[in-house]
Symmetry: C2
Subunit: 396 residues, 2 copies
């Protein structure tokens, strides 16, 4: 609880972040509009905009305002100079996404992974190949890569080591170190983060729940994990291991979980657990199995909807624990849960209403993500741009 006063560098970065944030919400806009919207004086705004123009983070348009008086040159974000790459590893495969600094998508790729049984080395190699191709594609568009962030379904420590990702069969994989070496571009910072933590960042920044201050993103593609924003801030915790709701023990004599215990939420209601309970999904690619599952559920096949209703009930009890402990306004179902949401939400909501202690579940609503396939890599691109959004300009 030490209150710090701000020094000059901090103030410059804070003000630059305020100008960029205003442009992100309001562009096109004039320097005068930025000054009045941020409370900064015009000289400061002019100086900051000069820096942003120099780095092609902002450009002037020919448009003018229809006000009385001298027409003003308007400013918009410029995405032609820099981009960030977001990657995701999951049981469904590998995903790569790149966005430029004006919020335009530069690339979006998905490929089947080497499979959970292949072991971490093959997956890391495939991920590095994907990253190198993404860098090449971004660079051939004329942009510099400011950073790469990777989302992984597991415990990631502050050194970017995946301490445990039970659903991938990983333990103590030094992903950041290995990927940095394998990519061979020490000038591009690589960050590794929990997948759900990145996904909730995407929900908080983009889409219909942007700016919701109390928001939880629930994913189950590999393990079951929660990305958590409380009071407007993503939670990190002591070592960065928040959101591991997958090992809540719901059924004392339930099925064995990858963690060695019985009856964990993950063993009852993750996508792999759901797929294992449905007969006749023969393809070995989990992505193809999921599409098959969705078709059969949408067609109303009773054996399939029963499995999903049971999974929804267990998820509802997990959600109730999150609601009782964290009082979110929104629970967002991500990944495959979003694609299956019409079959899951009724039983989730019923279990939540029974098990939440606060009246009306403390005002919590359960919805499906509008980014079912890309929340994690989208959040990863935002995470990779964190220095810039906090007002620290790329070194020229």
């Amino acid at each position: 609880m030490i209150t710090q006063t701000a020094d000059h560098t901090d103030i410059r970065a804070t003000n630059l972040a305020a100008v960029l944030g205003f442009l992100r919400r309001e562009a096109p806009c004039s320097r005068a509009a930025i000054a009045s919207g941020t409370g900064l004086n015009k000289a400061t705004v002019t100086s900051i905009v000069g820096d942003l123009l120099d780095r092609r983070l902002v450009r002037e348009t020919q448009q003018t305002q229809n006000h009385v008086g001298r027409p003003a040159t308007l400013l918009v974000l410029d995405g032609s100079a820099y981009a960030a790459i977001g990657l995701e590893v999951s049981a469904r495969g590998l995903t790569a996404l790149a966005y430029d600094t004006a919020g335009e998508q530069v690339l979006r790729w998905h490929r089947a992974g080497p499979g959970v049984d292949a072991g971490p080395a093959k997956t890391v190699a495939a991920l590095a190949t994907l990253a190198r191709r993404a860098i090449t594609t971004v660079q051939s568009s004329g942009r510099r890569v400011l950073g790469i962030t990777v989302g992984v379904p597991g415990l990631v420590n502050r050194d970017g080591c995946v301490v445990l990702a039970a659903g991938l069969g990983w333990r103590d994989v030094s992903l950041r170190t290995e990927l940095t070496a394998s990519i061979g571009r020490p000038d591009i910072p690589v960050t590794v983060e929990n997948d759900a933590t990145l996904a909730v960042l995407a929900e908080h920044l983009y889409g219909p729940l942007a700016d919701c201050e109390n928001l939880i993103h629930l994913t189950g593609d590999t393990g079951v994990g929660a990305g958590i924003i409380v009071d407007g801030r993503p939670l990190r915790g002591h070592l960065g291991y928040v959101g591991e709701i997958g090992h809540l023990r719901l059924v004392p004599d339930g099925p064995v979980c990858g963690c060695g215990q019985r009856g964990c939420l993950e063993a009852l209601a993750s996508l792999p657990a759901i797929l294992s309970r449905v007969d006749g999904l023969d393809d070995s690619d989990p992505q193809v199995q999921l599409e098959h599952l969705i078709r059969r559920a949408d067609a109303g096949e009773a054996a399939v909807t029963k499995v999903l209703a049971e999974a929804g009930m267990h998820l509802g009890h997990g959600v109730a624990a999150l609601v009782n402990i964290l009082n979110p306004a929104q629970i967002v179902l991500g990944g495959s849960y979003a694609l299956l949401s019409v079959h899951l939400i009724p039983s989730i909501t019923k279990a939540l209403e029974e098990a939440a202690i606060a009246p009306e579940a403390g005002g919590c609503t359960v919805t499906a993500s509008t980014f079912p396939n890309t929340a994690t890599p989208l959040g990863a691109t935002a995470q990779a741009l964190t220095p810039l959004t906090q007002g620290h300009l790329p070194v020229l």
Copy 2:
């Protein structure tokens, strides 16, 4: 995610808070030491210290420093002008505490409550009587009361209404409104807050875990509740209902809970649940029953230590859920759990090690509070002083 720039009033308050915070940690100290410690210029420090001297929040001492050069007058916090009152309602009774702005205790009282069966009206009346007496005592010491904060074991909404306190048998009690009317001092702001949220604030500000950034305070005197600090900030949530770990369902066919469900942590391991499982605790005052329980446990009576080991196991599973979701560095056992900690911690730790997914429980340690009887009212006094610690001076 709107970044705001600071206006003049905010800057003055931020700087004043920095000066007061520095004095709290470092006094006695000179104006020059404050300037170098906070990064503020000397003219600003002199002006702020002038305001603080005017309000008797700071005073000059006769001490001088042993440095070369002109001796400097040293400053210390002055508690002679203002104090705050913290109150607690629990199944163990009512507690009142007052601290002045220099951190000195002005009063500390405990009395048996009217009992859970008496209904909210009698408890509110008893609490108002206690508050009025506390105001009189503080005023007769020459100090003005800056605020009163009350901790209650239940869901408290932003209007200070206790929406639900199952352990007290309360539902929709407009405590802030009723207490304000009953005290009859509209000039003194009354705040109502969840008891565990106040208790964790006390742990975070004072005592051996001060400045621990990831800290959970667990209380079970009435219901079972957790006060949560993650990444240095107390969590509040959408409607203020965080920390309701008491209704985690651990034993599907377990004992009926006050909430209507079966096998909740609260029904298995709250103090009332523990007391109900031990024979021969005849006194009707829960405080006397607790003292009796502690004596028999400390004497090694097998029937008693068995009940406590079982409660500890259930608490350990609840703690594991908190650890998996929030990754705290410290779990602090408060209230009666602190007094019983030698009997509870071994079984809590065992269950936690089994059920936590992160290696070594994510670095989490379980300890006993050093404020077993006063964490909530102590946190309440700190809460009542929040405007001042944020740099807003009392109006003269």
